[in-house]
């Protein structure tokens, strides 16, 4: 069942499921993501333009990995928006992980508005030999 690692069953982030109410009056977007698995582990790559490293919050609770990004884009008052193809706001997305992730050694890097999370596989996930004793 190695393939099922972080098969990334996505959490439905329904607004009512949030314990904390958002205090910033801005929209929250679901960041576009790439997830791929290698022999070493699983890598998540999320696009969060406008978010710098300090604005990223990654939490892992009960195997639910939640990524939040706070945009630091500021526009001077003298500018008036006259045309828009994208909205500015924060980002949030959650994934359920399988058990065999080494939660202690998750590494996160943020560059050019893209967050990369490296989730190494846990040692215990490797196949174990079970000795069967003759009765």
């Amino acid at each position: 069942m190695e393939q099922n690692i972080a098969q990334a069953t996505e959490q439905s982030v329904a607004p009512e499921s949030h314990d904390l109410e958002q205090t910033r009056p801005r929209p929250v977007f679901r960041p576009v993501a790439d997830i791929f698995e290698t022999r070493r582990g699983v890598t998540l790559v999320l696009e969060m333009p406008g978010v710098r490293a300090e604005g990223v919050e990654v939490t892992l609770e009960k195997r639910v990995l939640t990524i939040r990004g706070r945009s630091s884009v500021a526009r001077p008052d003298s500018y008036r928006r006259i045309y828009a193809e994208y909205g500015e706001g924060d980002y949030e997305r959650s994934f359920s992980l399988s058990e065999d992730i080494d939660a202690e050694n998750i590494e996160a890097t943020c560059k050019h508005g893209v967050l990369t999370l490296d989730l190494p596989k846990a040692q215990e996930a490797k196949p174990r030999q079970i000795n069967v004793r003759a009765a």
């Binding site: 679901r30 790439d34 698995e37 790559v45 994208y86 050019h112």
Partner: protein, 144 residues
């Protein structure tokens, strides 16, 4: 990038555009919105005698972006790299795009190609463009 996923929750970034549709048609020459969207997505901001363009280019190295200006058209050209170059990987999600891109943006007025300022921070490009001195509207004194 799908616009639908970013327009959820009652948020309507094009609302202002719709409200401004008549003046915008004048500025952008009747161009339908569908044809105007592509990569990168852009927003336009108006100053007194300037215009600013912001574009979302997540994961793009500033060295891989080329900007050029001619009269009232700004061209953004570049390339996006894939999340990994390894081929021996199992994909669970593949929502990001990569490859070459080019976008030409029609500006509301002619701009001075010598006075263009561009900044690139956290995957967001900002280009500030000025109206040429000669094109600025001149105040006309009314004689009594």
């Amino acid at each position: 990038m799908t616009m639908a996923s970013r327009l959820g929750g009652g948020f309507d970034p094009l609302g202002e555009f719709r409200r401004l549709q008549n003046p915008m048609h004048r500025l952008f020459g009747q161009r339908p919105l569908a044809a105007a969207t592509g990569f990168p997505a852009v927003n336009l901001w108006a100053g007194a005698d300037s215009v600013a363009i912001t574009a979302e280019l997540p994961g793009v190295d500033p060295a891989d972006v080329e900007l050029s200006v001619k009269d009232d058209v700004l061209t953004v050209r570049g390339s996006r790299r894939p999340s990994t170059d390894e081929s021996d990987v199992a994909w669970h999600r593949r929502e990001r795009s990569h490859g070459q891109f080019q976008r030409m943006v029609q500006l509301p007025f002619r701009v001075d190609a010598e006075r263009v300022e561009a900044r690139f921070a956290d995957g967001v490009l900002e280009v500030d463009l000025q109206r040429p001195e000669a094109d600025k509207p001149r105040r006309i004194e009314i004689k009594h």
